[in-house]
Symmetry: C2
Subunit: 331 residues, 2 copies
């Protein structure tokens, strides 16, 4: 394994330092470097905090900024942030309107965010949205029930836009819960993923194999299949999503093709082309799109497809301005 790093013990800290240095207009380290936060906190809005293990960059640190997160707490590679980090982020960013914690559904993350919420319960109003967008209902070693994967970006964008225009904590919480029924993601990987400290691959695929339904920590998926054409792979993936979401003709969807870190953008666009064509043939409207490498699993080769059924109000939240390291558009 060849990685650009100095030492495994410091790679997360050095990478975060680079992100803050490259985007100092947008973000800064919070107290004692425990988290990354918006440089200019806006009074009068609910604070949105997320986080998780490192290795998924640019999520979540790249989503901190105007119109998205107020703070992100990063643990070590594939390891939850500590309650201590989350408490520090709550204390520094809550301007009195409360905090919404956006937590991917992994046991470690859920436990640590819950513990943090309990620790500050006397001083801060806290609500939590657990993201469960994976098509695999069964969970895995790391989670009970559906995992939170690339759809987390959609949660954070929509909730961030709503918080920015003054939605209250209970309103955000309701929106977040509702999204869990309307956002589904499925991933496929063409390679295992090598964790820097152990140098062990999570699984090994032969030259003619792919792992369908893989998670963002390289967790094994639904099935190990023979590698196939892009159209065939996309077909299997959309089938898994659409058996869950069952959109109706005329529904408006967001289609998001996400690279896992080792997949070139040209292949992501090719997959987008295949998926969009297939959805249009079903009579649904792909109203919004996103193609890029946003929710990763270190250098894993592979991609995920996220489909979100969005109504008019949510389409507006998607379109609202955002200014972060990884996602940037609007006025």
């Amino acid at each position: 394994m060849k990685k650009f790093m100095n030492r495994a013990e410091t790679l997360v800290a050095e990478s975060l330092a680079g992100l803050v240095a490259a985007h100092e207009r947008l973000v800064t380290f919070g107290a004692d470097g425990k988290f990354i936060r918006r440089r200019s906190l806006r009074p009068g809005k609910v604070s949105l905090i997320s986080g998780g293990g490192a290795g998924h960059e640019p999520m979540h640190v790249g989503f901190v900024g105007r119109g998205m997160l107020d703070a992100a707490c990063t643990g070590h590679v594939f390891t939850s942030p500590t309650p201590d980090q989350i408490v520090a982020a709550i204390r520094e960013t809550d301007g009195g309107e409360g905090c919404l914690l956006i937590v991917k559904n992994y046991d470690g993350d859920v436990m640590n965010f819950e513990m943090a919420a309990e620790l500050v319960a006397a001083e801060h109003r806290i609500a939590t949205v657990i993201v469960r967008d994976d098509v695999n209902p069964g969970g895995s070693k790391r989670s009970q029930g559906r995992r939170g994967v690339a759809g987390t970006l959609v949660f954070e964008k929509l909730l961030g836009a709503a918080a920015e225009v003054g939605w209250r904590l209970d309103e955000l919480s309701t929106l977040g819960e509702g999204l869990n029924d309307r956002i589904r993601t499925v991933g496929v990987s063409l390679s295992g993923v090598t964790v820097p400290e152990t140098e062990r691959e999570t699984f090994v695929l032969n030259e003619d194999e792919m792992e369908m339904g893989v998670g963002i920590h390289g967790e094994p998926g639904r099935a190990r299949l023979k590698f196939a054409t892009a159209d065939e792979i996309v077909g299997v993936m959309l089938e898994a999503i659409l058996s869950d979401l069952t959109p109706n003709r005329g529904d408006t969807l967001l289609l998001f093709i996400n690279g896992f870190g080792g997949t070139p953008v040209s292949e992501l666009y090719l997959a987008y082309n295949s998926a969009q064509t297939r959805l249009q043939n079903l009579g649904v409207t792909v109203a919004r799109s996103l193609v890029g490498t946003y929710v990763t699993s270190l250098d894993m080769a592979g991609l995920s497809i996220t489909v979100a059924g969005l109504e008019e109000r949510e389409l507006s939240l998607w379109d609202a301005p955002v200014d972060t390291a990884a996602l940037r558009w609007g006025g």
Copy 2:
């Protein structure tokens, strides 16, 4: 080799179709699908046209839009676009103010863009900027003299912003020529690159080796070195750049860390941290930054460092609004 594709013969066309579909607000295919152009051409401005072989995405097609390119012509993988494609782009986008062709310095590209310029010389005013930002002065099998690599993005951003605010063809040409003295790039690769049609790797590296000075087609570089820590690698790379650029204390630089396609963003930020620290220690100011995967070599693992010495006027052009698939900021 596992790639998301249907057939090698159609992968470029399918990927471009995906890009246009995902960004239909911004771009559209030109006549006969020979190139991709801005959806809304602006009368009264010089048209900026670039292009080259596929396999470097999001460059150049992802740089088409307001404040950057008017059109991009894509050849097959690592193969120049034909004069015919370039002529079609000139005819469709020149609104009377002439065309600036931005061409990376490879023999095939230079020849085909020159031929296109000659073919339309009676009807269109054409100027050409040849991008030569690679630190390797000697060229390679593909080029006489310095190659055009990731610094091409900086050329296209600055020239695009200038064209957008009404600079004339001769003024743009002068700016472009001047940039060649002030932008330098060096790449390092940790793996060869596999070309889809041949399925042949350009070179093979052992587990403890890296290729220093590599080009964006996986051309061999200056030296095959032992793999080292990020700080050591960045040190060697910056030394190569700074022996050419020789910035003075107080100069303002743009520092651009570019991934080649197979390198995670967390590693790019770690490299940014290392490079920025080293430059600051030399007393120069890193006034602007860019970190991401923009100028690629299919799925090659590796990155390049670009340093550009920019004056006040060019910093403003860098900051000017841009609205393309891959680069998007400002009003």
